[in-house]
């Protein structure tokens, strides 16, 4: 029997993602510094003992803010991906099973949303809904669900002809049961790959929206608004931009490598 090749992308990606999740969950419990505590005596302090990543323009501890920012980043992107995945899978799956006019109508709606650049849709929604976490989640989920709808619709059209699906239908399974119990579980591999790449994109989009002042609002620490605030001090205190920049980069790298690794493992590429 051929041994499975060592999957470096999967290993490194999974380690980075696990570290990120660990930082988000346990980080604020280990580094027990208030991320909003202002200490004007430590304004723009460089990294050193006591403040391992330095302090920002208001003397707030950067490490604490990065760890709390990880919580926001991981929290928002997980909720967004779950919402996009559920909405996209249900819409795409039922459109495929319904067929005919309903399918046609749903897919035209998907085409129109896809004809809109995703980040532009998120900006427009965030601008209209106003800043705030729930609105940010809605804006980002509106951007993401279409790719899952397309993926699931295409796969369901192919899978429903397979023996297991035909057998389930013959035994009297209704469309909802057929989709939820038989078809979607068979699609978990490709959906996982797509979601892994998707989370990287959402982390960047969340950071960019917060950077533009349309996402997480200060003083709440988000990597995006920390980068924005740090830009003004880029000459005197480059660590203010480096810390959140590297955090975003590593998070995105982790999810991209994880996606690559999963795709290699199950032999599927994202659409």
């Amino acid at each position: 029997m051929k041994r499975r090749a060592f999957n470096a992308s999967l290993m490194i990606g999974a380690s980075l993602v696990a570290t990120l999740v660990l930082c988000a969950i346990a980080g604020p419990l280990v580094v027990r510094v208030n991320p909003d505590a202002i200490d004007l005596a430590r304004t723009l302090a460089p990294p050193g003992p006591g403040h391992w990543l330095g302090c920002d323009a208001l003397g707030r501890d950067l490490l604490a803010r990065i760890l709390w920012g990880a919580r926001i980043s991981v929290g928002v992107s997980s909720i967004v991906i779950a919402l996009s995945l559920i909405a996209g899978s249900l819409i795409g799956g039922f459109a495929a099973l319904a067929g005919g006019r309903i399918d046609e109508l749903v897919m035209r709606a998907v085409d129109i949303v896809l004809a809109f650049p995703g980040f532009l849709l998120a900006i427009a929604l965030a601008a209209i809904l106003g800043p705030g976490l729930p609105d940010l989640v809605i804006a980002l989920a509106a951007m993401g669900w279409t790719s899952y709808a397309r993926l699931v619709r295409g796969e369901v059209l192919a899978l429903r002809e397979r023996d297991f699906a035909v057998a389930a239908s013959a035994l009297g399974a209704r469309p909802a049961r057929l989709l939820l119990r038989h078809l979607l579980p068979a699609l978990s591999g490709p959906l996982m790959v797509q979601a892994s790449f998707g989370i990287g994109g959402i982390i960047v989009a969340e950071a960019a929206l917060s950077f533009l002042g349309l996402g997480v609002m200060p003083p709440a620490p988000s990597w995006g608004n920390m980068l924005d605030a740090g830009r003004a001090f880029i000459l005197v205190a480059p660590h203010l931009t480096t810390a959140p920049g590297v955090a975003i980069g590593l998070a995105v790298l982790g999810f991209n490598l994880l996606g690559d690794g999963l795709a290699q493992m199950i032999g599927s590429r994202p659409v």
């Binding site: 995703g118 427009a124 980068l227 830009r231 480059p238 931009t241 920049g245």
Partner: protein, 306 residues
């Protein structure tokens, strides 16, 4: 080819109408009162009624929609609340700067991706492949909002080679275009590497080698042409990202384009201007998709023969 072009042009109409309708729906159907959002909670009743009348928001929705489409067909996007200038004129002033940035970003992406992807794809598994692809994954992972400031620190502040912000000659364009194009370059290089490496194993390459061609010549003349199709498809899918990437890039480099106008309009709650900017971005994307499809049909004859 002619029939294909006509068919694609005709399909543009419903998509453009759909995009315009979605933009209208975004601004007009979302809960919340834009007039109160613009004037604040303490505005007098007379002011609210006046502005609502001026913007036509007191009319029935279908009437507003018809007026919106009529205006759009005539190039009239209403007036900015802040400056009272026609939105279409404000957009026309800023649009060339965004187009310039997007084209420069695309050019830089292709200029980086082609040699990088070719070098890696022609030598799969060798150190040059590993180096090029590590570089590419780094390019994908560094977000614009960090790459921009990073390039500013190195090339403007430390080395003093390039201007920090603003629009001017070619030197002003380099850093924003690099910031915008880096991620796309990395994505395209990875795709080219993958498809060229696959093409390198194909029978037609073996035949060319058997006929005495060098490996490099066989890959350049036969492999590249076959390997480029998926790269063009992927490029088409990524152009939306490039276009919206200009928004963040323009903010970082104080580039006077449509993206900065949009963000200014959003913070001033100038809804007609927001609507105009969003619509212009979206319709540009629709047009760009059309051009990509036509280019794809030109490169790959299988697309136009259905």
């Amino acid at each position: 080819m002619k029939r294909y072009i006509v068919r694609r042009l005709l399909s543009l109409v419903p998509v453009a109408l759909g995009v315009a309708s979605l933009t209208f729906a975004l601004i007009h159907l979302i809960p919340g009162d834009p007039v109160i959002a613009m004037l604040g909670d303490n505005a007098s009743n007379a002011d609210i009624v006046g502005l609502r009348q001026r913007l036509g928001l007191d009319r029935p929705l279908w009437d507003q929609y018809a007026a919106f489409l009529y205006g759009l067909a005539h190039g009239d996007l209403g007036r900015s609340i802040l400056t009272n200038e026609p939105v279409a004129r404000l957009i026309a002033e800023r649009f060339p700067a965004t187009l310039e940035l997007a084209i420069a970003g695309l050019a830089i992406a292709i200029l980086i991706a082609l040699p990088l992807g070719f070098a890696a794809g022609a030598n799969p598994g060798r150190p040059i492949d590993l180096g090029a692809m590590s570089f590419a994954i780094l390019g994908i992972s560094i977000p614009h909002i960090y790459l921009g400031p990073l390039l500013m620190i190195v090339f403007s502040l430390d080395l003093g080679w390039l201007p920090l912000t603003g629009r001017g000659g070619l030197s002003h364009l380099v850093l924003p275009a690099l910031t915008l194009g880096a991620a796309l370059a990395a994505i395209l290089a990875r795709m080219l590497r993958q498809s060229l490496a696959a093409a390198g194993e194909a029978d037609y390459i073996r035949t060319a080698l058997a006929k005495g061609r060098s490996r490099l010549a066989a890959l350049v003349h036969h492999g590249l042409r076959n390997a480029i199709s998926p790269v063009v498809t992927l490029l088409g899918l990524q152009l939306g990202g490039l276009l919206t990437g200009t928004i963040v890039t323009e903010i970082i480099f104080s580039w006077p384009g449509l993206g900065r106008l949009l963000i200014t309009a959003i913070s001033a709650r100038d809804y007609p201007l927001v609507e105009g900017c969003v619509l212009t971005f979206a319709l540009t994307y629709v047009l760009v998709n059309l051009v990509t499809d036509l280019a794809y049909a030109l490169i790959d004859p299988r697309v136009r023969i259905e």
